[in-house]
């Protein structure tokens, strides 16, 4: 689960940003059915997450959809609708803390884009606070190891507290689904494809599974 930078420097949904910040500043609740900014939020999250699922790092959105050319005065607007459709993604909005849905449905800091199937599996299960991937001190390597032979994520073996390791393992298996069979299989195939290209001297570019690829290609 890669670190996600949702800071101002990366933001493009400026109209939504102003609206949301004012609500927060005024201490007002967010209108739950307010959809005016929904596409802006979704596309801005995608560009912060580089088009992948926040938890599994599966590829879920074509980059053309959140490209800089699709932003006009802080609002998302598809420049060439004939090339890319608003629905060219597999993601769903994930509310990190489900309890905030009622009062702060559109709270930027509580939102991520995740694969729709993963969202269905995860449901409303809570994630431990220290694994929130947009926190300034979050570091994937601090909590997770990746074995490039089995292509499985494991709790960092250097975490001494067994309870914490078990907690992270539970997150991997039952909440974040980082080792779900389909996710793992896609990851293996993707990394094997990159290795094949590398072996044959072809250029490689990475657009998903950044954490696992980083481990497999660190040497």
């Amino acid at each position: 689960m890669q670190k996600i930078n949702k800071g101002l420097a990366r933001r493009r949904s400026l109209k939504y940003k102003n609206w949301e910040e004012k609500l927060v500043m005024d201490g007002k609740e967010h209108p739950a059915d307010y959809n005016y900014y929904k596409t802006d939020i979704v596309m801005d999250l995608y560009q912060c997450q580089n088009g992948v699922c926040a938890y599994t790092e599966m590829y879920i959105c074509v980059p053309e959809l959140f490209a800089p050319s699709n932003w006009v005065k802080g609002k998302h607007k598809i420049e060439k609708p004939e090339d890319v459709k608003k629905t060219d993604h597999f993601g769903e909005l994930e509310h990190w803390d489900p309890s905030l849905k009622k009062t702060h449905y559109w709270l930027w800091s509580n939102l991520f884009m995740i694969h729709a199937s993963i969202n269905g599996l995860k449901s409303n299960k809570a994630i431990v606070d220290y694994l929130k991937p947009d926190m300034p001190d979050y570091d994937s390597a601090k909590y997770f190891d990746y074995d490039e032979k089995t292509h499985l994520f494991r709790p960092n073996t250097e975490i001494e507290d067994e309870k914490v390791r078990d907690e992270i393992q539970r997150m991997i298996d039952h909440v974040l689904f980082m080792n779900h069979g389909v996710v793992r299989r896609q990851r293996i195939e993707y990394i094997n494809g990159l290795k094949f290209k590398k072996q044959h001297g072809q250029p490689i570019s990475v657009d998903r599974f950044f954490t696992a690829v980083g481990v497999c290609f660190q040497d």
């Binding site: 074995d147 032979k149 494991r154 250097e158 299989r185």
Partner: protein, 462 residues
């Protein structure tokens, strides 16, 4: 409204191309296109075979049962008086059928007429693309199509009746469909009893002639030789119904069980024939009571297809994998097709091996949405084109099919998952020690020993 349509073929055919259900039980605004996708050589034509998969309760059997209901006005088990009303005005069947020169289109549906009586109706009737009156299409359907160009559809339920009852008097020439949920499968054997008896009587007659010849001309070897040659010639030229069943239907598949059809019979009357006889490769007859469930399954599902010779019709199989070992499941879809003539097959299955006999566009995976309604999971992205399919079960490994198509989370049992996790941890620990230059320490060597044991336990894990 449910819609089932048949597409225009280039020859005689009867194949469903679309099923639409507006609102019926777990189906709501449900639609499935059953034609070949773009880029396929049969682009737009009806699929030759369809495989319904999905969690129990998603309605695979219901879909199978709607087809005879709307095409032949025949109620299978789950379509009863209680469920009938749910189909009123909710169901339309659009269909195309006929020969190259007479292609008819219609939409069939069910509703209550002004007297409150439930009737099946036909709408939007067309002949060769031009609108025609309902009477014309009904006339063709009743007088030229059914039982002439097309044989009756056949339904194999999930539980076949394996009992072999010689007194079952089911008449295969009557009825709207051949429904093996109501009729005994073994009774089809009666269809060839007469020809078997005739063959056996002829053989007996020739053998008696030989006996007489031997008796009368015991010293004349030439005469005896000629009599034997006559028997041999007769055997080579006369149609032997049992040998035909063996050669064209059962032996190839029974060989998987090290069995074959017993062709040499010692019978004197029709009653002696009984049901088909099976023997092992040492010619020991296997009594019917000792047939394995798998043997019965193969014999009793293949024999009807061979004997009834379905043509230009629809064949429905609910859970065809029942009792079959995986290597046989792999074969049966093509095997059943080979026994028929231009039929459209519908299968409902839970078997990834059965599913691997299908192209991705032939698979209809049913899933529940958040509201508990059923939808079809599409395997293609963007346009329905052969190049846009993300899975191809024919090219996938079984475990891959289980995970990606049948949505199984892991590639093995929970015990395997735990061992794989252990292996991953050990690999990571060893790598970390290696980075620190400690890969020859007792700790590292102990890890390596554990890794080797896990490799062995997990067999081929990658």
């Amino acid at each position: 409204m449910a819609t089932i349509s048949l597409n225009s073929p280039t020859f005689a055919t009867m194949k469903v191309t679309k099923i639409e259900i507006k609102d019926f039980h777990q189906f709501k605004d449900f639609s499935i296109d059953l034609t070949y996708p773009k880029g396929h050589e049969k682009d737009g034509q009806p699929l030759d075979k369809i495989c319904f998969i999905g969690q129990s309760g998603t309605g695979k059997t219901t879909l199978l049962e709607l087809i005879p209901k709307f095409l032949y006005n025949y109620n299978l088990k789950s379509i009863n008086e209680k469920t009938l009303s749910g189909l009123d005005n909710n169901v339309i069947i659009a269909t195309k059928f006929g020969t190259k020169s007479n292609v008819f289109e219609t939409q069939k549906f069910q509703h209550l007429d002004y007297k409150g009586e439930r009737i099946s109706a036909w709408a939007r009737c067309k002949k060769n693309g031009e609108a025609v009156e309902f009477d014309e299409i009904l006339d063709y359907w009743s007088n030229s199509w059914l039982n002439k160009e097309s044989t009756r559809p056949i339904y194999f339920p999930s539980i076949l009746n394996f009992e072999i009852d010689p007194n079952d008097d089911f008449n295969f020439k009557e009825g709207k469909i051949i429904d093996f949920s109501r009729n005994n499968v073994g009774v089809v054997w009666k269809m060839i009893l007469d020809s078997i008896q005739k063959y056996q009587e002829q053989e007996l007659q020739i053998r008696q002639e030989i006996s007489r010849t031997v008796e009368q001309s015991s010293n004349n070897l030439e005469v005896i030789k000629k009599a034997l040659e006559k028997l041999e010639h007769w055997k080579n030229t006369e149609f032997n119904p049992i040998k035909d069943v063996a050669d064209k239907c059962l032996d190839a598949i029974l060989a998987k069980f090290k069995l074959r059809v017993k062709v040499e019979l010692d019978i004197k009357s029709k009653d002696d024939i009984g049901f088909i006889k099976i023997e092992d490769f040492s010619k020991n007859e296997i009594p019917q009571g000792l047939w394995s469930t798998g043997t019965k399954q193969v014999v009793l599902s293949a024999l009807p297809l061979y004997l009834l010779k379905p043509k230009n019709t629809i064949v429905l199989f609910d859970e065809p994998e029942r009792s079959l070992y995986p290597d046989l499941q792999r074969l049966i879809v093509d095997y059943y097709t080979s026994l028929t003539n231009n039929c459209q097959f519908f299968y409902a299955t839970h078997s990834p091996i059965i599913a691997s006999s299908f192209d991705p566009w032939e698979i209809v995976e049913l899933k529940f949405n958040a509201e508990g309604k059923v939808f079809r999971e599409l395997y293609y992205e963007g346009e329905n084109h052969v190049d846009n399919y993300k899975y191809n079960p024919k090219l996938m490994r079984w475990d891959d099919i289980l995970q990606r198509v049948f949505d199984l989370e892991h590639d093995g049992s929970e015990d395997r998952k735990i061992k794989l996790d252990e292996l991953a941890t050990l690999n990571i620990k060893f790598k970390k020690l290696t980075k620190k230059g400690e890969d020859h320490t007792p700790e590292a060597l102990e890890i390596l020993a554990q890794v080797q044991k896990l490799f062995k336990d997990l067999s081929v894990w990658n």
